[in-house]
Amino acid sequence: MKRRAYRSVFIISILLFVLAAVVLLSLCIGSSGLTLSQSINAMFSSKDSIERSIVMDIRLPRILLGFAVGGALSLAGVILQGLFRNPLVEPYTIGISGGAALGVAFCITFRLQAIQYLGSFILPLSGFLGSLLVIILLYITAVRSNSLNIQKVLLVGVMFSFISSSLMLLIMSLSKTESLERIIFWMMGSLDQNNWGLIRAAIILSVFSLIAGYFFSIDLNALSLGEEQAVHLGIDIERSKRYLFIISSIITGFCVSVAGVIGFVGLMLPHFMRLVAGRDNRILLITSFLGGSCFLILSDTIARTIIAPQELPVGVITGLFGGILFIYLLSIRKAGI
């Protein structure tokens, strides 16, 4: 049985190695036509050059954001699927992304970005406020006599999703073509973000939530048997449910606010990692985070190079490649979801 511990360490090391490889690859290829050696030289040279600026100021921020957002979305997916005991749940199911989208659409339509001193912060900020509003509403409706009714969170969340998409349609039908374009562009999701403050915040928040989520990994294992069994195993389920809900919804809200609605990472990666690395949440949280990071960085690299100098929305790549890969994996494995 020691074997299992070794296996987990092995899988995590492989993922770290893959992550390093993906990061390096992504630093070295792009639409500017730099050769591999040029890119590598630019990375390690200290003097300012166009090459260095392309690698460090254009490619690196995207990679870092991909690391944070991919990891966080995938982590939120694992937590929510475990919490709801439902394999179809993903971070966007419970309406948080809808709230964020609504916030952003509101901001664009009413030209709130004209507010001077907030500058480029205003879009993510209004998105985050929108998602926060949904989180709070969800929480209030689902808490009864000190107990968080998790099935109710799911149902109400799905309803919030519908309501906010209707409101989105309303706002979009009333707004001008120029605003419409910006809203649609935002909704497609992109890692193109040049605000270092936001990128740093995303990295700190996602790593922090991985650590915080980790404290509840055993609780998640116990909850997989149902709430009653978890109580009998000595888990304070009300506390775990609450913290897990808050951790996963806050990081979802933040990711959506910074990078828009990048689909599929939070749904597929947890399943993929369960098939590859097993369902013990103590390992699964880490593998899913790393896997999500690798997957999103790689997808973004493909999205920005495949039809260069044009760029595809990264969601196109995550959906297409992820979906096909996942179906393939399901068909060769016998064990169920």
């Binding site: 049985m1 299992r4 511990a5 987990s8 980790y214 404290f215 055993i218 294992n221 116990a222 997989s224 048997l225 149902g226 009653e228 069994q229 109580v231 009998h232 195993l233 000595g234 888990i235 304070d236 369902r279 013990d280 103590r282 064990a335 169920g336 979801i337």
Partner: protein, 266 residues
Amino acid sequence: MSILLELRNVFSGYGHQFRLENISLSVMEHRITGIIGPNGSGKTTLLKTISRFLKPEKGTISLDGTNIWSMNIKTFSRKVAVINQYMETACIPVFDYVMMGRIPYHKGFQLFNSDTDIEKTEMNIKIAGIDTIRDKFLDSISLGEVQMAQFAKALNQEPVLLLMDEPTSHLDIKHQVGMLDLVRKYNFKTGLTIIIVLHDLNLASEYCDELIIMKNGIIRYTGMPSEIMNYRTIEEIYETVVIVERNPLSQKPYVFLISEEQMKKN
């Protein structure tokens, strides 16, 4: 022999719906105590109240002299384990499932199972006789095997009190007897105190030292099977005509059912 579990004037239930009224009872240690009664008599509610899943509205429940609600939930789960009648089968291997019984002993930030956890799990899997299916997934084995896995998981918690809620209700006679024989044997060997809710009166009579008979949320009779299992009690509680005879080998009471047709003939 001393009292392990004591309930004093306990009122409990789900909101406005069904409730237990004024339950007082003492459970002796090292015994197997059976709870019987018709559907909806409050057996499961009582078990859920004892297992700390339901908080009583009034009254105290003490285990070994300590109020269970003043204990930390983790401490409590090292003393009391529960086996349910029906379990939503999770898609995990039997070994991992049994290992979950060690969760009360896990430390906060523990990445891997400790050697003790693995040793105990191996041992309890052997005790429950499920060694051959340890790598099979829980949703691919028979219900009898699932119940054995539940038993092994419960033992893995190293409890002083084991609560079982109709553990045999969906099993055939081979697995019913197999399960209860195992429970009885384990009780003899280690002195583990067991409270078991049973539907089958004859199994209850055969395997329990002590019986509690419930109806409409209150305890109606308590005592040894030979004292309280007679046709008068059973007919009163279940509103059904029965004949109670003795099992020719064990001399324990045995309940025979009588059909309406048969009754008319006599």
